[in-house]
């Protein structure tokens, strides 16, 4: 076997199907540590008595879900899978997508989970959590050798309905971005189940801008935008939205958002797009990393 052959990872679609099923269920039951720590941080800094009661109930719910092996939230969401394929990985792409879909169907039937997915016009629910183009599967590539990462995000609808795009113009500057984010957080109020992660996409095309907002909303707490201007905007907007007094569940308080996250892309000389996508406090995600050593499950 040549050195080139040794640097390969062959991924079996059957293993992807198992992982896709396991990750959907795990994501619905166990919150990532960064989100749990985010709750402790908000609770320690909250000045409003009602808000502290609300946060305490949310923290209790995380414990009850783990103790009783139950779902954190009834909303099984829209299943999203982010696939990151490293160098030297061999996988049949079409088989990979089919395997993820089968994993979603099996999780729904075998656990069982509520199928939250319907045809957009007939509203018929196939009871599989699947439908046209659902689950959402995003595929990207990385330099890392011999690694395939599968991240699962069950995106709840209460916060997904808090999604907005504005094609601002260059003359409105960065003020248009800041104002848009603050106004959408006010508009969303308690409907998006605060405390939230407010995802902001800046730049790109309209579709890329909205996608970046989702990437930002589903990033771990504590992570920063790689661009220094984006990171500065994150700090400013986190301060601004938490000065509004909306609070957990929109019942008042300091803890409106765990954080505002920003992702950005270059844009056109005539454009200044900004998008908002909100992640509720049940900021669920789970991942499986395939390497030559095996499969590691985490967040």
């Amino acid at each position: 076997m040549s050195a080139k052959d040794a640097a390969k990872l062959v991924v079996d679609p059957g293993a992807v199907e198992e992982a896709a099923k396991l990750l959907y269920i795990r994501a619905l039951k166990v919150l990532p540590d960064d989100i749990k720590q985010g709750f402790q941080r908000l609770n320690a800094g909250e000045s409003d008595a009602t808000a502290r009661t609300v946060l305490a109930t949310m923290i209790e719910n995380i414990e009850v879900a783990e103790r009783r092996d139950n779902l954190l939230c009834q909303d099984t969401g829209i299943p999203i899978y982010n696939v990151l394929i490293g160098r030297g990985v061999e996988i049949d792409g079409a088989a990979l997508k089919a395997a993820i879909r089968r994993g979603v169907e099996r999780a729904t039937r075998e656990h069982p989970l509520r199928s939250s997915v319907v045809h957009p016009i007939t509203r018929v629910n196939e009871q599989t959590s699947c439908g046209a183009l659902i689950p959402v599967i995003n595929i990207d590539f990385t330099d890392r050798p011999c690694e395939l990462r599968l991240e699962m995000i069950p995106k709840g609808s209460g916060s997904e309905n808090g999604s907005f795009l504005r094609m601002a113009i260059p003359a409105e500057g960065v003020d248009a971005i800041k104002t848009f984010v603050v106004d959408r957080v006010i508009e969303a109020g308690g409907k998006v189940c605060p405390p939230t992660i407010v995802g902001v996409g800046v730049g790109g095309t309209s579709d890329l801008c909205v996608h970046l907002a989702k990437v930002a909303a589903t990033r771990p707490l504590g992570s920063r935008c790689a661009d220094p201007e984006g990171a500065k905007l994150e700090r400013e907007l986190t301060q601004a939205v938490n000065a509004l007094g909306i609070g957990p569940q929109g019942l008042g308080g300091d803890s409106t958002a765990f954080a505002v996250h920003v992702e950005l892309a270059a844009t056109h000389i005539t454009m200044n797009p900004v998008a908002v996508n909100i992640q509720c406090h049940s900021a669920r995600r789970a991942s499986a990393t395939f390497t030559p050593e095996g499969v590691e499950i985490g967040t």
Partner: protein, 202 residues
Amino acid sequence: MHHDFTMPIGEAEARALEVGDTVTLGGTLYGIRDATLIHMFDKGRRTRLDLKGHAVIHTAPNVKKVPGSNENPAGYAAVCVGTTTSARMERFTRPLMTREGVRIIIGKGGMGPGTLAAFKELGGAYLAIIGGAAALETTWIESIEDVDLDDLNPESLWKFRVKGFGPLLVAMDSHGGSMYDRVNKAAADRRAAALAAIGVKG
């Protein structure tokens, strides 16, 4: 003030609730949401279940099909029962009260001026439950007693038997009080200062 209600209740009990009070429910609780209400009020379907004086919660639970028994008379066991965002169901509050006699709505995120006006005129209240705290909420459900309009599953009309369901916060009452209005007004008042503090020129 705290109230313990065994459902159903009458108009006087609903009108006694004030924003800031807490309520714990026992007995029957009905689960409804988007498709249930669209079919009941837009598509002319009726339910055989009696909602008069009852509370409805905006939900669509995770359930498991099981053989019918005394414990699971409807053939369903609750897996995870939580609460969805109420605002989408705003236009159905009044018909729920006038046609079906509902007194209490339980949900998350609050409702609008139409709901507040219906509460004032007809005698009702909105109780805020903590959205996303479904694992905890499920421990307050004793059983699924009945189900109607089940072709809409999971958006069926569910009849739950509950015990110690709460404490829930009265967030909208029959006296024109709404915690959401108060918070929204405060946020609007703070908006300019919040933006100015991060360099936005008014």
